[in-house]
């Protein structure tokens, strides 16, 4: 029997799974569905599988199954307690060599990028970073599925579709929030296969001395439901205080464009766009943002966008659901006042 395997790396730290892993299981299942229509004989099967590394994390395998993994390859060892590049890379590489997946998806988080580049090189295969679209090529009959991995290039001005024809696995990294989290099915059935860890004493060359949590939540923009973002139109750093007030009254977070971060008005953690975070809020308010493509790349998945800009021809209005042409220093305070008023009347 021929098994076409679509793999997802489950990113966990301290027993918490990064939700991008579940998002990727959703993508993997979509790819598997496309693949099934292209299978030639009853002798072939498609399987969505994942790899999970760590220590005392067996319970997470169940979650992976509920989010769509048919099979979980689980590696547990005290040396894998904390993520470190070399031991994780060696174990993931060993598993990929053993099972030969055809597609392998990894979240493009800091940890995922650290791992993906090393694993792809160990496997001497191709890796496409930061994909925003993944589909199986429309070819009638194939030996192995050809993954079409599309990513923004040149600051979002071009969408390039990359293929890796002759080597396997075809690896791709995907940023958090580019795809939705699939529904969780509590009675899903799957298999957990325990694998032996590969341990190389030379990896003790690197030692984690200390890990300092910045703050439990971090800025966590990717998963914010409401984001109030500012651009160059703010004029200076102090404008972000006003945006913070609006974000607070709405229960949201503050975002920013790259020029603001480059100018040092606000920390990088707030940057939205191709070189910052990809966001997927229910409401995105863009204040004083012209709407450069590299910004658009990070915000196009927002459900509803309000743009505020002085210039009626600003490109941001082309992607906004509704736009206000006016001075943001008039509009934002008015918005804060009206939302506050609305909240007060609701609480009465």
């Amino acid at each position: 029997m021929i098994l076409h395997r679509v793999w997802v790396y489950i990113e966990q730290q301290g027993g918490r799974v990064h939700p991008v892993s579940w998002e990727l299981l959703g993508v993997a299942n979509d790819l598997a569905k496309q693949l099934k229509t292209k299978i030639g004989s009853a002798n072939e099967k498609v399987s969505v599988e994942c790899v999970l590394l760590g220590n005392n994390i067996r319970t997470l395998a169940r979650d992976a199954i509920c989010f769509g993994a048919e099979r979980v390859y689980l590696v547990e060892h005290s040396a894998l307690e904390q993520y470190m590049n070399a031991p994780y890379c060696k174990n993931v590489t060993a598993l990929a060599k053993k099972y030969a997946p055809e597609v392998f998806l990894i979240g493009a988080t800091n940890l995922g990028r650290d791992l993906a580049g090393a694993v792809a090189t160990s496997l001497e295969t191709g890796l496409t970073a930061d994909c925003t679209e993944l589909v199986i090529d429309e070819v009638d009959r194939i030996d192995h599925p050809l993954l079409l991995a599309t990513r923004p290039a040149f600051g979002g001005n071009i969408l390039a579709t990359i293929v890796c024809r002759e080597r396997l696995p075809q690896m791709a990294s995907v940023r958090p929030r580019v795809f939705p989290v699939p529904p969780k099915s509590d009675n899903a059935v799957g298999e957990v296969i325990t694998e032996k860890a590969v341990i190389d004493f030379r990896d003790r060359r690197v030692e984690l001395v200390e890990r300092i949590q910045i703050d439990q939540e971090g800025v966590n923009l990717e998963y914010a439901d409401i984001i109030v973002s500012g651009g160059r139109g703010l004029g200076d750093a102090s404008g972000f205080k006003m945006l913070k007030d609006l974000a607070d009254v709405l229960g949201g977070k503050v975002g920013a464009t790259r020029p603001c971060v480059d100018a040092g008005w606000i920390a990088y953690e707030h940057q939205v766009g191709q070189t910052g975070k990809t966001v997927r809020p229910k409401l995105y308010i863009a204040a004083g943002i012209s709407g450069a493509l590299q910004h658009k790349v990070g915000t196009q998945n927002a459900d509803f966008i309000i743009a505020i800009n002085k210039d009626p021809h600003a490109p941001i209005f082309d992607m906004a659901d509704v736009g206000i042409v006016g001075d943001l220093y008039d509009v934002i305070p008015e918005m804060i006042a009206q939302v506050r008023q609305q909240k007060e009347s609701e609480s009465l």
Binding site: A129, V181, Q294, I306
Partner: protein, 275 residues
């Protein structure tokens, strides 16, 4: 002795790229080429530690002859030696092929003068892949520490380095045995002002050109487009989105404009996935 190798790349300034609205093609003309900003900070860190410890800083780059300008910029910032790997056979390299050639070059540099730390920027701003640094580390079997935001200690006698690195929600302090490969954030070091002797030297500096035949012994199936498993299948310009309704403050007043917008704003039912 402290010997740093800094891998740099020249990139188009992506903040200035425009699309020709008629043809949909990338307008390359007039787009300035710059030293990748993260690489500049990585280089500054290498030079900073050279000033403290003594030693040398070698710059390494792969690309067309025009990349010499960025190497000269590196000499101006305080590097001692610049090597440019350049030949037509290297063109079309993806991250896998690039990491192969860079690793071979670093091996060669190391054989002449042992390398303590290999510096990379965390990513290049044209591709944003962040893949080459970890790839080179695997090929050299040297530990990689990505997203390095601060170097706390380099001790060449004790053969030790301590750095701080950044992840999304935490920072880590990592201790490692030398040699290591770092990929650096901008915070790792400030770009210094060039000293007059470095500036003068950089003006006339010609990098060593390493070609396809020598001095590296390369597996020809592993370089350039031949050694690159990924290829561009097609390109497209992003779809235009439909513009939403515009409300002019001048026409209806600020209060009315805001009121109208808030009324129009719909919140889809909250489905929380992250608890």
């Amino acid at each position: 002795m402290f010997h740093a190798v800094v891998a740099i790349k020249q990139v188009p300034d992506t903040t200035n790229i425009r699309i020709d609205p008629e043809t949909g093609n990338l307008v390359r003309a007039g787009v300035p080429a710059i030293l990748n900003p993260y690489d500049a900070h990585a280089l500054a860190a290498a030079v900073e530690w050279k000033r403290r410890l003594g030693g040398i800083v070698t710059i390494l780059s792969m690309g067309p002859p025009s990349f010499a300008a960025s190497i000269r910029e590196g000499i101006e910032l305080g590097a001692d030696r610049g090597i440019l790997i350049s030949a037509r056979q290297f063109s079309g390299a993806d991250t896998l092929a690039t990491s192969y050639v860079l690793a071979k070059a670093i091996e060669k540099i190391h054989s002449e003068e042992p390398v303590s730390v290999i510096f990379f920027g965390k990513q290049a701003i044209d591709g944003d892949t962040a893949q080459v640094g970890p790839g080179v580390s695997v090929r050299l079997d040297v530990p990689v520490i990505t997203y390095c935001s601060k170097i706390l200690l380099i001790d060449c006698e004790q053969n030790e380095i301590v750095v701080q690195r950044k992840a999304e929600n935490y920072t880590e302090i990592i201790r490692a045995a030398l040699p290591v490969l770092l990929t650096c954030e901008k915070e790792v070091s400030k770009i210094p002002f060039a000293s007059l002797p470095d500036l003068v030297r950089s003006l006339r500096y010609e990098p060593e050109i390493w070609g396809y035949e020598e001095p590296l012994e390369l597996d020809r199936d592993k370089v350039g487009s031949k050694g690159s498993p990924t290829i561009v299948f097609k390109t497209a310009t992003p779809a235009q989105t439909e513009a939403g309704e515009l409300i002019y403050c001048d026409a209806v007043g600020v209060a009315n404009a805001v009121k109208k917008v808030l009324e129009r704003t719909e919140f889809r039912s909250a489905t929380r996935v992250m608890e």
